[in-house]
């Protein structure tokens, strides 16, 4: 386990990312506790994927510090990577490996013995309903299949923290259900999940706490009740209503005269 005594698995402060003149993420602070299912929401281009990339060491922040599972991502990147699983939004896999080969590769890269790697990859292929396609090259997989195999690879070493960027995009409802059950099981057993999605229903149903980012800044954070209070929304308002309010989205009820 990490070096910290408290149970904050993800701790980011003053996290900033600039691309030239554009500030994609502007000095944000995040705290996610062990076993929490944490939702990270925001409109397109708000900085969600940039934040996730920085949290898992795929992008170097311009400023700020990040600790994941008790380790500093800048100084102890390998320790962090040992403990995390990542499903990025853009799936870039080894196209010329078969699904089964890829999972064994991922397991072995985490230091697993071959026997264990084979056993776990077989189990995960079954869970993701990819057993029949296990000997097909990934380049011939559909988008949904790629997402499922990437998800399986993120799980194969049983990570302490799981970063999921839009995990349900392009996946059929049967697999969505299966993945959701896995995620629930994982959080019940102490895995922390950092999750982004555009589907508010899913976030509302799964996440124990939510942060909303807009134009690179956190505009709200907490449970549903806290967010309602922050947004000064009605008691029965949904997460979607709260989200729209917090990101100050203008939803025009009127349509164009010629339409």
């Amino acid at each position: 386990m990490g070096e910290v005594a408290d149970n904050r698995t993800i701790l980011a402060s003053g996290l900033t990312k600039r691309f030239g003149d554009v500030i994609a993420v502007d000095s944000i602070a995040l705290e996610v506790h062990a076993g929490e299912f944490f939702g990270f929401l925001g409109p397109n281009g708000a900085g969600k994927s940039t934040t996730i990339k920085m949290l898992c060491g795929l992008l170097r922040p311009t400023a700020g510090s990040i600790r994941v599972a008790g380790y500093d991502i800048g100084k102890q990147a390998l320790e962090v990577k040992r403990r995390i699983g990542v499903l990025p939004e853009e799936i870039d896999l080894y196209d010329r490996l078969t699904g089964a080969e890829f999972l064994v590769f991922a397991a072995r890269m985490h230091g697993m013995a071959l026997g264990e790697a084979l056993r776990r990859s077989g189990d995960l292929l079954g869970l993701m309903e990819l057993t029949e396609a296990k000997d097909k090259l990934i380049v011939d997989y559909s988008l949904g299949m790629k997402k499922k195999i990437a998800f399986a690879a993120a799980l194969i070493h049983h990570p302490e923290v799981l970063f999921l960027d839009e995990p349900f995009n392009g996946i059929d409802p049967i697999s969505v259900r299966a993945i959701r059950n896995v995620l629930r099981h994982l959080t019940e057993h102490g895995t922390t999940i950092f999750f982004t999605s555009h589907v508010m229903e899913v976030v509302e149903r799964l996440c124990s706490r939510v942060a909303i980012i807009n134009r690179g800044r956190i505009v709200g954070e907490g449970g549903l009740a806290e967010l309602r209070e922050k947004a000064k929304a009605a008691g029965d308002s949904s997460l979607e209503d709260i989200f729209l309010k917090l990101v100050e989205a203008r939803v025009d009820e009127e349509t164009l005269s010629w339409l």
Partner: protein
């Protein structure tokens, strides 16, 4: 009204093509520089060809000038018909199927694509030759419209047919398997062409006047390129009747091609034409085969170390992945085929009687042998100098794994060393036999093995500081961007020179005892050379592993596709 509407749409499609091209160049400076470099390189060639043709058209006898025109147009025609195989697409900037959302007929979409392709570099470079044909064969005012129409229709028909072939073969040619096959097939064809061009003239002298008078040439000249040439030559001679007749046939052929291309565009959009038979077969096979049984947990074989020594799992995993990529990735196949091509060229030189003529230097065979090994290593350098090149965007995934960075490098190096060694041993074996120096085989192999260690050592460092994304385009390799590709090629040349200097002691350790001192000294020089090569490798591994840990984000970024 209809014509006006059609013209407006054609103008719109032309504008779209122009705008998209312009945006590509503005957004990616590298693309602009690449296009500029292509113009600088190819324009003088195109102008040179046009000038040569012009001189030929003006100075040759009229009937020979007509044959020349037939030949030139046939060459252009065949080049365009085979362009889809080379990975060239007419409408690179925009996807035709996107235009089907709008109320434009398939014929207009196709015509727009063909007109838009006049902005493509390949077509632009053809224009000087076609222009000189127009100038040279316009002998009178009446001939001018016929010649102009014939050449214009020829160009239109050729582009439409190329488009059709591109569309109809899209399903097959753009399938992964076909592209992989093409990577092997094209260098093989090049090799075969080289062999034929080298051997045939020695066996048989071509009688060109007999070729031009042959029935085959006459029949070939009834292809649209020949029809255009006959119409042009007829108009130049003043035989307007036959010229108009050929022009009429060419017009019918061109319109039919346009209809064919439009029909194909429409049906491909509806998903009725382009298909991959390979996939269908695979689908049948998949249906027929029962689902594979799940491996029972207890039956999973756990491998034991055979020699009481086992590599770390990450090294094994990277090596296994690299080995599979070596077999499956077209880049490696392409590189291997280039080595085969190199081998064939050297073989031709070695078996040539000129190499072994009495007045040739006595040691020419041996010099060629050592020179060929250096050339071979030079050809292998790009693979060794860009070990992350084929990772592409998956590099970010690779760097997410928590294994020691040294293990990633060792895994990659092991496979690279094994692959290059295998190729080089075969190469050395064939060469030493053909050069009639089989006794040199052990020395050649030793030198090549030691040099590979040095190549890999330099490669580890340069791969980390200057990674380049490799993109396979048709049968050819393209670096991520032309400008960066060129810069990196120059850089690779410089590093190859450094690697060459660093390898000099290794070469000296092998050849000095053989040629100048005594073979017994090999017992001392070879262990020293091995120690030197291994020290260089370990030093490079140490620095490269440290640099990799610091630069992995930059490497992953460099290997991501350009947007």
């Amino acid at each position: 009204m209809i014509v006006q509407q059609a013209l407006r749409y054609l103008y719109l499609l032309w504008w779209l093509k122009l705008r998209l091209m312009w945006r590509t160049y503005r957004r990616h400076l590298s693309a602009a520089v690449g296009a500029l470099l292509a113009v600088v390189f190819f324009l003088p060639i195109a102008v040179g060809v046009a000038f040569g043709c012009f001189m030929g058209f003006r100075t040759l006898e009229p009937h020979m000038a007509e044959h020349l025109l037939r030949g030139v147009l046939l060459g252009a025609y065949l080049m365009w018909l085979f362009s889809p195989l080379l990975g060239y697409e007419l409408t690179e900037e925009y996807d035709l199927s996107k235009l089907f959302l709008y109320p434009i007929s398939p014929r207009l979409i196709t015509s727009g694509a063909i007109l838009g392709s006049l902005l493509d570099l390949g077509v632009l470079l053809l224009l000087p030759t076609l222009s000189v044909a127009l100038i040279a064969f316009t002998k009178s005012a009446i001939a001018f419209p016929i010649v102009l129409l014939a050449i214009g229709l020829f160009l239109f028909h050729t582009l439409a047919l190329s488009q059709s072939i591109n569309l109809v073969s899209a399903g097959v040619l753009r399938s992964r398997r076909a592209r992989d096959l093409m990577v092997v097939l094209f260098p093989l064809l090049m090799t075969a062409f080289y062999l034929v061009s080298q051997i045939l003239p020695r066996l048989h002298r071509v009688n060109w006047s007999r070729v031009l008078d042959s029935r085959a040439w006459d029949l070939v000249s009834y292809l649209p390129s020949g029809l255009a040439a006959r119409a042009v030559a007829g108009a130049a001679r003043g035989d307007f009747g036959p010229a108009l007749a050929f022009l009429l046939v060419l017009t019918i052929v061109s319109l039919s091609t346009l209809y064919l291309a439009s029909w194909l565009v429409q049906h491909i959009y509806a998903g009725e034409v382009a298909s991959t038979p390979i996939r269908r077969r695979a689908a049948r096979k998949a249906r027929a085969a029962p689902p594979p049984p799940l491996i029972p947990l207890a039956a999973v074989p756990v491998r034991r170390a055979r020699f009481g020594f086992q590599l770390p799992p990450a090294i094994e995993a990277v090596a296994a992945k690299e080995f599979r990529y070596l077999l499956r990735d077209p880049y490696f196949k392409h590189s291997l085929m280039m080595a085969v091509y190199m081998l064939v060229v050297v073989i031709i030189v070695l078996i040539s009687p000129r190499t072994w003529r009495p007045e040739a230097p006595r040691d020419l065979g041996q010099m060629l042998l050592w020179g060929a090994t250096a050339m071979m290593l030079f050809m292998e350098a790009p693979i060794a100098f860009n070990i992350f090149g084929t990772e592409g965007p998956a590099a970010s995934l690779l760097f997410l794994f928590p294994c020691a960075r040294r293990h990633i490098l060792v895994g990659k190096n092991l496979v690279l060393f094994t692959a290059l060694s295998t190729v080089n041993i075969i190469f050395a074996l064939v060469l030493s036999v053909l050069a009639r120096r089989p006794q040199l085989l052990p020395a050649l192999i030793l030198w090549l093995e030691l040099a590979i260690i040095m190549l890999v050592s330099c490669g580890n460092l340069i791969s980390i500081w200057f990674p380049v994304r490799i993109v396979m385009r048709g049968w050819s390799i393209r670096r991520q961007s032309a400008s960066r590709g060129l810069t990196y090629r120059l850089l690779h040349l410089a590093i190859a020179a450094v690697a060459g200097c660093l390898s000099t002691p290794l070469l000296a350790a092998v050849i000095l005892p053989i040629y100048w001192i005594s073979r017994f000294w090999l017992a001392l020089t070879l262990p020293l050379a091995l120690a030197y090569a291994c020290t260089c490798y370990l030093a490079s591994l140490h620095f490269a592993a440290r640099a990799l840990a610091q630069r992995e984000i930059e490497i992953a970024d460099a290997l991501r596709p350009e947007r």
